[in-house]
C-alpha cells in the first residue's frame, strides 16, 4: 500500500474525512435513489405476482399506437439522459450558458415524455376502456398495477422536470455549483433507469401478438 493511501485511510478513521470522496449532497441523493429503487422493485414484484396468479392476463397493447408510442417515449427519455450528461459535462468546465441550454433540452424531453404518456393513457382509457378499477377482460388487477406503476413513474418524471427547471434557472443566474447540477443529473438518470424496466415488463410483455 502506498504512503498516500495509508495517509488517506488514517484520516478517514480519525473522523472529519470523506470516506467516499464525494459530497454529502451527492451521497444523500444516492441513498434516496437506493430507497426509491426498492419502492419500484416492490411494485414490479407485486405486478409480477399478480400477473402469475391471474389466468388470462390481458394483452391490450396494439403495435400502433401503444408500442410505437412507448418506444418513442423510451427514445425521448434515453436522449434526455444524454443531454443531462452534456449539461453536467459543461458545468464541470464552468460553461454555465451551455449548461442551461442542455438542461432546457432535458426539460423539453421530460415534458414530451409526460405528454406522450398522457396521450397513451387517454387512448387506453377511451378506446380500450381500461380504467384503474375495471376493464373489458374482467381482470381489474391489470388496470391497478398498470396505472400504479406508470403513474408513479410519471410523477417522478414530472417532479424531475420541476427540479431541473429550478436548477436551470439558478445556474443561469450564476448560482449553484457543479455538485448541484451533478446531483440533479443522478436523479434524472435514475428516472430513466426505472423506465428501462417498466417498458419491457409492462408494455412489451403485454403487446398484442
Amino acid at each position: 500500500m502506498s504512503d498516500a493511501k495509508v495517509a488517506t485511510m488514517a484520516s478517514v478513521w480519525e473522523g472529519g474525512g470523506s470516506p467516499y470522496a464525494i459530497g454529502s449532497k451527492k451521497f444523500g441523493m444516492w441513498l434516496f435513489i437506493i430507497s426509491d429503487a426498492l419502492t419500484f422493485s416492490a411494485l414490479l414484484v407485486a405486478y409480477t405476482y399478480l400477473r402469475l396468479a391471474t389466468p388470462d392476463w390481458p394483452k391490450p397493447f396494439h403495435f400502433v399506437p401503444s408500442v410505437v408510442f412507448s418506444s418513442i417515449m423510451t427514445f425521448v427519455l434515453l436522449s434526455s439522459s444524454l443531454t443531462m450528461v452534456m449539461a453536467v459535462h459543461n458545468m464541470a468546465r464552468g460553461n454555465r450558458k451551455a449548461t442551461v441550454g442542455w438542461l432546457l433540452a432535458t426539460i423539453v424531453c421530460g415534458a414530451a415524455f409526460c405528454g406522450l404518456h398522457l396521450i397513451e393513457w387517454i387512448n387506453l382509457i377511451r378506446h380500450e376502456k381500461v380504467t384503474f378499477f375495471s376493464n373489458p377482460w374482467n381482470v381489474p388487477q391489470f388496470g391497478a398495477t398498470f396505472f400504479s406503476l406508470t403513474g408513479l413513474h410519471m410523477t417522478h418524471v414530472a417532479i424531475g422536470v420541476i427540479y431541473l427547471s429550478i436548477i436551470a434557472f439558478a445556474v443561469g443566474r450564476g448560482k449553484f455549483s457543479y455538485e448541484d447540477v451533478e446531483v440533479s443529473g443522478l436523479y434524472w438518470h435514475f428516472v430513466d433507469l426505472v423506465w428501462m424496466f417498466i417498458f419491457p415488463l409492462v408494455y412489451l410483455l403485454s403487446a398484442r401478438p
Binding site: I34, L38, A42, V85, L193, M196, F199, P200, A207, P209
Partner: protein, 98 residues
C-alpha cells in the same frame, strides 16, 4: 471532478442503449416461451441499467467503497422480494373452476 470520459463515450453508451431497446422490441414479437422471453428482457434491462449507472451516473469513476455500500444491499433486498413469487402459483391453484 475531471476524468477520462469524453462526449464520444457518452454518445456510444447512448447508441448502445438505443440498440438494446431495439432488440427488446424485436424480441417482444418473437413467439418465445414466456420464461425465455422474461429472462431475455430482464437480462437486457439489467445490462442497460448497468450502462446507465456506470457511465451516466458516473459510479464507475467513484471509489469502489461507494458501490459496495449501496449496491450489494439493494440486490439482496430485491432478491428477497422474490420469496413471494412461488406463492402466486398457490393463489392460481386456489381459484374455483369457472
Amino acid at each position: 471532478m475531471e476524468h477520462a470520459v469524453t462526449t464520444k463515450t457518452f454518445t456510444l453508451v447512448w447508441v448502445s442503449l438505443l440498440a438494446l431497446t431495439g432488440v427488446e422490441i424485436f424480441l417482444a414479437y418473437e413467439q418465445l416461451q414466456v420464461l425465455i422471453m422474461l429472462t431475455a428482457l430482464v437480462g437486457l434491462s439489467v445490462i442497460k441499467a448497468a450502462l446507465i449507472i456506470s457511465y451516466f451516473m458516473h459510479l464507475k469513476f467513484e471509489r469502489f467503497s461507494l458501490f459496495l455500500t449501496l449496491f450489494p444491499m439493494l440486490v439482496i433486498c430485491i432478491l428477497l422480494l422474490f420469496i413471494m413469487i412461488p406463492d402466486a402459483h398457490r393463489a392460481l391453484g386456489m381459484r374455483p373452476p369457472q
